[in-house]
């Protein structure tokens, strides 16, 4: 059962061979057993989860079940869920029991899915290693001394160690794809605007996008079917026809044109990652795909541009945490200004403070044109590179991350080296394109490698097809971490 796909679990539930209560119970037991060593969850609430499972079983008995009814899904702690502690990995929200549901949470609720708990994450989604969480570091199930990536590292570790059949994540600069790569799971960041940001605690609003993290592309398609959809409460939610993202999974890949950006295979890429990615591309050729070299000449500027734009938006978004309406308030202060300054100094961790300060600076008088405006202009050049590249190919492929999972503590004192771990993912967010990571082998240290698949706007169904066909021909996505091996 631990290794069953969502489709298989759904069939077991439909056939009455398993109830949602039993299924949820077994994952809760597993969390109880393994979470102390992984720290993948911030909040687990057996009673709430089991009550939802009970409701799902009742819904099924009444004949109202859909594909995800009764399936437990772990939710990144960035999504507000009514009655659940929602911390966003921060001390600032250590006491925030959300009074409302995020759109994504509502969508899962409507589908009859069970909230299995809230997963650990880098504080306010700022980080690539899950070391910035106020609730402790998350461990990589493949090697407990390694990071799981970030910021959706709790979700990634939970799925990789089979503490959850599936999970949600959010991706502002790579926060779904990079942890998916580092833990050997499949993750998809949709086109900007496909998944509502309502109730998803904001980091950088023009880049943030929620998406599924699961064991396979097929599972991701089922999850995206539930997560996607227009929501008027998000001013950037796109009004589009409802799609079935699983519709093209079985299409053959003959004639698929894969663009390989030369900049993604240059200096800075580890040899073992390059080797695994090249082997995956060779597999695609066997499946009938053709490859063509493309160029993304401005992608080298993606990191500097991102570290102006994302902090600028964050400094504005995080100004709402002032100790007045919710969240942490300092115990002692002299006046209102002192209350703001102390509450924020105590509530935010150092990475969040750094980014707020960068953002405050680049938006301040005298620096706006040189930094913020210049970054916005470069953002257009970066996005245009992709427009040109997609004239020659259907999808772009390359590594998700420059190396396999690094050791805990290795980069935590050097923000710039940490930022470079998102070098291949950030440009995709700046352009607003969809991107995926799919397990494609292992590095020299036995840790997973991810293949990144970048699609054109709204081509999620095609990307999932491209990933699914690879997963029919290979079994990297079925490999289990040593922690899980030998279990049933």
């Amino acid at each position: 059962m631990l290794n069953a796909s969502l489709k298989q679990l759904s069939a077991l539930l439909a056939e009455g061979k398993l109830s949602s209560v039993e299924l949820t119970q077994s994952f809760l037991d597993r969390i109880g057993q393994l979470n102390p060593s992984l720290n993948a969850f911030i909040t687990v609430d057996r009673e709430k989860s089991l009550a939802q499972a009970q409701a799902a079983d009742e819904l099924r008995a009444k004949g109202g079940a859909g594909a995800l009814t009764g399936i437990p899904v772990a939710q990144k702690d960035i999504f507000c869920a009514q009655g659940w502690l929602t911390t966003c990995g921060s001390k600032m929200l250590h006491n925030f029991v959300s009074p409302y549901d995020a759109h994504v949470i509502e969508q899962f609720h409507r589908a009859g899915a069970v909230n299995l708990g809230k997963t650990n994450m880098d504080e306010f989604a700022m980080g690539s290693s899950n070391e910035t969480s106020y609730y402790g570091k998350v461990k990589n199930p493949w090697n407990l001394d390694a990071v799981p990536g970030g910021s959706s590292g709790g979700s990634a570790a939970a799925v990789a160690a089979r503490l959850a059949p599936a999970a949600t994540g959010t991706d502002t600069g790579g926060s779904i794809r990079q942890p998916a790569a580092l833990t050997g799971i499949t993750g998809l960041k949709p086109t900007y605007g496909v998944v509502s940001r309502y109730g998803m605690i904001a980091f950088a609003s023009s880049l943030d996008q929620g998406g599924p993290m699961a064991r396979s592309a097929e599972d991701c398609a089922l999850l995206l079917n539930t997560m996607a959809g227009f929501d008027r409460r998000d001013s950037t939610s796109l009004e589009r026809e409802k799609e079935d993202y699983a519709r093209d999974l079985d299409q053959p890949l003959k004639g698929l044109k894969i663009g390989l950006p030369k900049e993604f295979f240059a200096e800075g890429l580890s040899d073992d990652v390059a080797k695994a990615v090249e082997a995956a591309i060779a597999e695609y050729r066997k499946l009938g795909a053709e490859t063509v070299e493309v160029s993304l000449p401005n992608s080298k500027l993606a990191i500097p541009v991102y570290y102006v734009l994302a902090p600028a938006e964050a400094s504005s978004n995080l100004s709402r945490f002032d100790g007045v309406r919710y969240g942490h308030r300092a115990l002692e202060y002299t006046d209102l200004l002192d209350m703001y300054c102390k509450s924020r100094a105590q509530g935010f961790g150092s990475e969040v403070k750094r980014r707020i300060m960068i953002g405050t600076y680049v938006l301040s008088h005298g620096y706006y044109d040189a930094y913020y405006l210049q970054a916005q202009k470069l953002r257009r050049l970066i996005a245009q590179d992709f427009v040109e590249a997609f004239k020659q190919c259907d999808v772009i492929m390359g590594p998700t991350a420059p190396s396999t999972a690094f050791s805990i503590g290795e980069k935590s004192d050097d923000p710039v080296s940490m930022y470079l771990s998102d070098i291949y993912t950030i440009a995709v967010n700046l352009a607003g394109l969809p991107g995926m990571s799919v397990p494609c082998g292992f590095g020299g240290n036995g840790l997973p490698v991810g293949l990144q698949i970048i699609g054109n706007y709204f081509s999620e169904a095609r990307m999932l097809n491209v990933a699914h066909q690879y997963q029919q021909a290979t079994d990297w996505h079925k490999r289990l971490p040593p922690l899980v091996k030998g279990e049933g």
């Binding site: 008027r232 001013s235 500097p304 309406r325 300054c341 100094a345 403070k353 202009k377 607003g432």
Partner: protein, 95 residues
């Protein structure tokens, strides 16, 4: 661009984050490293390039000017640090 300790303290004040002198020293070092990275942007001539604020070229939706929200103030204020009679309490601002 070179940051000085006073710049860091000024930024922290604008951001409403209290920092000690010792913390400011640490931020100075880290922020200087990040700004050195950001400086790479200046090498590109972007004359005539339209700034891109957003991933999708869409205009803001409008809605009818009608009440759509229900009164949830009790639920929202239940998570506030301090309230009284439906108001948020903060230290006295006007003497």
């Amino acid at each position: 661009m070179t940051l000085a300790l006073d710049d860091v303290k000024r930024i922290a004040h604008l951001a409403r984050i209290e920092v000690s002198d010792q913390e400011a020293e640490g931020y100075l070092k880290q922020l200087s490293g990040i700004f050195a990275l950001v400086e790479e942007m200046q090498a590109v001539d972007t004359t005539g390039v339209e700034p891109m604020a957003h991933a999708q070229e869409v205009t803001q939706r409008l809605r009818d000017d009608a009440v759509t929200e229900t009164d949830l103030h009790a639920a929202f204020q239940a998570v506030a640090p301090q309230t009284e009679d439906g108001l948020y309490l903060v230290p006295k601002v006007i003497e």
